[in-house]
Symmetry: C2
Subunit: 412 residues, 2 copies
């Protein structure tokens, strides 16, 4: 018998317990051992549950229980999750988590600690909810060099973009609807400003390339500035605008990692990912494009990923799994300005004809976008692929007659 | 050091060797051990290759080499692959394969043999080429009860359907084009009659539900009868026609498993999978719908899955992995007639008005499909969800004035 504990009885934590009891037979069969849920840590009280006797408010009940071998940390946030996780790993207990904030901030350190104490630290649930992605990247694509990962990693922003694209809603209205439906928090910043997607692309970049990418190293831009006009111009381009987390290994051994709205061609399967769904496109030198699609959040999908990790830990109590990455050099994440991208520019223009004369002169031949009801004195165009830094300098050099509103990259 | 061998130097086999040498450093790092390619078995000669000295025409060179621990069987077919695989497993060597025919025909037996001899038999490459699917189903979804799997499992037929749907080509022309491009064999039966997809859904059903489903137990229908008219009627329904492998666990403990053309709603992500791409939708009670997408065939994608399995075998030389299924009872696969499905019927009708009077009377209220240039004296309609067996009986009972041309299920 191995003992389990769950820290945090919120949405995911209660889902973990529910799923454990619901599919217990098959879970134990797959773990190859009988499993018992021994403790649920939460400061709140939950009277009337079938497992009310498991609750504790004292972390030490878990830490000091020699029968507990696997702990699910589903509290979220850095405090006290970081400290608890460290103590558990040092005590020789495996920890699994859905806590992307903690993995993105402290993954390298916690993985090293797990390795040192010959236990596991697993986080399949931290990216893509119930979509299997951490293991497939690590294992199934092991024979493959991953050249690039592109992901729609945040369901809330994808829901908002879908409403803007399919129903012509304005950003504020789409956000209000997402809040009404419970998809967005009252303070939506973590989603709409891209921080949540940033943590997830950090984790994917770290696992794909073996060195930790920290959120502070990632150029992160959210979706708050996107307008209905951008959506319409993108449509003319044969594209939709999606919030994309992207990472790419360069020939110089440094990595690119960004979160930003991008124009995604309607030919790309990523363009068809709507509503709260997530999708992660993994590009390999051997596999080509492989995409993983599903609900990126929600109680049971996320809980199922947590429980799968718990099974794996229980099964491999003696044999540590190989997921690992280390810290990179301070300059391991390269300046985004060295990226070569085609770029979409939406700008105010006093005189459209002379504005195009100017941009064509500055950028070479741009692709002008236009549609019947486009606002007067606004233009949008796509600059052919070039180093982003140069393009930004040239944009600054434009005359007063052209005033950029939004500048987005075009996804390849 | 562990020794490797490759049996079969065709498209996939040569890809395995190429990939091994191309990414050898990272492959050995992930295997945790140095690896050496010791033998390549093929009856043909391949002069001038950098590894020409590895070739042998004698299987016993591999079988009797004590250094060889992992063998890739990429010969295809049952003979002599089945016999060789048995001998290797009995000799304590792990075998990995892309041979879906062999896995679908003999999986239960070979897995039992591997278990008995404490080695691995792995076949990630047998379904979906380079798409990770066997491991994700087995591991990542371990906490989940899989309620249904729906897959576009054959790239050749999906290419043909895409040409019929997007370019209005006739089946024969689309097939000829697929042959020209090398996507279809000169004898295309294995693809267009659904046998290839059948083997793959057998493997997925076996792994999802733990008991072997054999191809002969599966109602298999190909795409040869689909006409441009069907494609047009489906469009009116808001659907596309795709060849779908489908398996579902029923409450009576028996499994459904079929391969057939189905109407797939344009709302479903499966409808957007075009050209030679494959996609597998896995429905779980906890995860909801999770989809895996990518190139389902091709030299390097398939080879990358084979090599990933080889790495896993080398890494887990001492610890057998848990993939396993056993034989089911003879009636484990249930009669498809007990399935409840909505059904599309395309029929000749002498008089359209009286034909609709009749079908509405027989089936209750059907959904009539019609488009501007529809052939005279042909109708198409969708019968609401009902047991398929009953529906087939009722179809037979229709008067002479209605002559069914095609009958397809509607995907939910």
């Amino acid at each position: 018998m191995q003992g389990l504990a769950v820290m945090g009885h919120g949405v995911v934590g209660s889902g973990v317990v529910e799923l454990f009891y619901m599919n217990r037979d098959s879970i134990e069969a797959r773990a190859g051992e009988s499993l018992e849920l021994k403790h649920v840590l939460d400061l709140r009280e939950f009277p009337g549950l079938a497992y009310s006797d498991k609750f504790t408010t004292d972390f030490n009940d878990i830490l000091s229980d020699p029968e507990v071998t696997v702990v699910a940390e589903v509290m979220g946030g850095l405090k006290p999750a970081y400290d608890y996780t460290k103590q558990l790993l040092m005590a020789g207990k495996s920890v699994v988590t859905s806590n992307k904030e903690l993995v993105a901030a402290k993954g390298a350190e916690l993985l090293a600690l797990a390795k040192e104490h010959n236990v596991n630290y697993m986080f399949e649930a931290s990216v893509g909810g119930g979509i299997p992605i951490i293991r497939p990247i690590h294992q199934c694509l092991a024979a493959n060099t991953i050249t690039e990962i592109l992901g729609i990693l945040n369901g809330t922003t994808n829901f908002i973009m879908t409403k803007m694209i399919k129903e012509g809603m304005a950003f504020d209205d789409a956000l209000a609807l997402a809040q009404q439906l419970g998809y967005a928090e009252r303070n939506p910043s973590a989603d709409v400003d891209g921080h949540d997607a940033c943590r997830k692309i950090c984790i994917l970049a770290s696992i794909a390339y073996g060195k930790h990418v920290y959120p502070a190293q990632v150029r992160t831009e959210g979706i708050t500035k996107i307008t209905e006009t951008d959506v319409a111009f993108a449509k003319v381009h044969g594209s939709v605008i999606k919030l994309i987390g992207r990472t790419r290994m360069q020939e110089n051994g440094k990595v690119q990692c960004t979160v930003s709205p991008m124009l995604v061609s309607k030919e790309s399967p990523l363009s068809m990912v709507d509503d709260v769904f997530n999708a992660i496109m993994v590009r390999g030198d051997a596999t080509g494009d492989v995409m993983f699609y599903g609900k990126g959040a929600g109680k049971l999908p996320t809980a199922s990923a947590v429980v799968a990790d718990m099974i794996d830990c229980a099964r491999h109590k003696e044999a540590r799994k190989a997921i690992f990455w280390e810290d990179g050099a301070p300059d391991y994440v390269d300046d985004y300005k060295s990226e070569q991208m085609a770029v979409y520019v939406h700008a105010k223009a006093a005189n459209i004809e002379t504005a195009y004369d100017e941009v064509n002169q500055v950028f070479g031949c741009v692709e002008a976008l236009d549609y019947a009801d486009a606002p007067a004195h606004e233009i949008a165009f796509v600059i052919p692929k070039a180093p982003v830094g140069e393009m930004e300098e040239k944009l600054k050099s434009l005359s007063m007659q052209i005033e950029p509103i939004n500048v987005f990259w075009v996804c390849e």
